[in-house]
């Protein structure tokens, strides 16, 4: 698991990388929750541009981030989602719960 994050004008961007499956999901969930708790941003942006694969564990990552942001009355945005992760998010209906910004590619 590897990710970078930065805070700018109350917007916390978390850039995820690689393949998100059950093996690494728990670490992602805890790390993202920790960042949100520490910075209490207005908006949290999960950047999926460098994520090449997700399974249903990726859905749990998004749902947990959504829960953390709801608790501080903030907003969650997903961005840069490639084709395979997008199919998983659509199949789960999560694309209707979270704002998804146009994929970069």
């Amino acid at each position: 698991m590897q990710f970078t994050s930065f805070l700018e004008n109350g917007h916390l961007t978390v850039a995820l990388t690689g393949e998100i499956d059950h093996h690494c999901a728990k670490n992602y969930i805890q790390s993202i929750a920790g960042k949100i708790e520490a910075y209490t941003p207005d908006v949290c942006i999960l950047d999926f541009q460098d994520v090449t694969f997700v399974d249903s564990s990726g859905i749990a990552v998004v749902i947990n981030a959504l829960r953390s942001m709801s608790q501080i009355e903030g907003k969650l945005v997903l961005t840069g989602i490639c084709a395979q992760p997008m199919r998983v998010f659509r199949a789960s209906g999560i694309d209707k719960l979270v704002e998804i910004k146009e994929a970069v590619r």
Partner: protein, 143 residues
């Protein structure tokens, strides 16, 4: 059943084997000339099935997971993922979207994804004996 090719994998239920299993099946499927989308769907479904074995079938111990793939006629990839773990008492409940007996790091969407990404999907289980997921994906023949 006639088949053109097959492979069998056996590995312990370590979560580091999730990536190995889906990649191995994708490599095997590559000879069928799948599209990127088909390959993505197959990798996702295998990842779900294998993760279920690791999380649910063998919750407190390492057990053996078997993955068998066959290439059937009409360009069908046949995949069986089998464990000898605790089994599922209520299959209908297990298949329900958002239902999970796992923790908050599970989404309860595994079976929903397997069902929607594969051409056919069957789940059989006996408590105390184990669980078998049998799925098939028909691949488009490219012109």
């Amino acid at each position: 059943m006639k088949f053109n090719n097959f492979m069998i994998l056996e590995f312990p239920s370590k979560s580091s084997n999730e990536a190995f299993a889906r990649s191995a099946v994708a490599c095997f499927a590559a000879q069928m000339d799948p599209t990127l989308e088909e390959l993505g769907d197959i990798r996702t479904a295998v990842s779900e099935a294998v993760t279920n074995c690791i999380v649910h079938a063998y919750p407190n111990e390492l057990g053996i997971i078997t993955v068998r793939c066959r290439i059937l006629k009409d360009n069908i990839l046949d995949i069986v993922v089998k464990d000898k773990g605790v089994g599922i008492a209520d299959i209908e409940q297990a298949k329900r979207p958002m239902f999970t007996t796992g923790g908050s790091d599970r989404s309860g969407m595994g079976f929903t994804i397997m069902e929607s990404f594969m051409t056919s999907f069957e789940l059989s289980s006996e408590p105390g004996k184990g669980t078998t997921v049998h799925m098939r994906r028909r691949l488009q023949r490219r012109k």
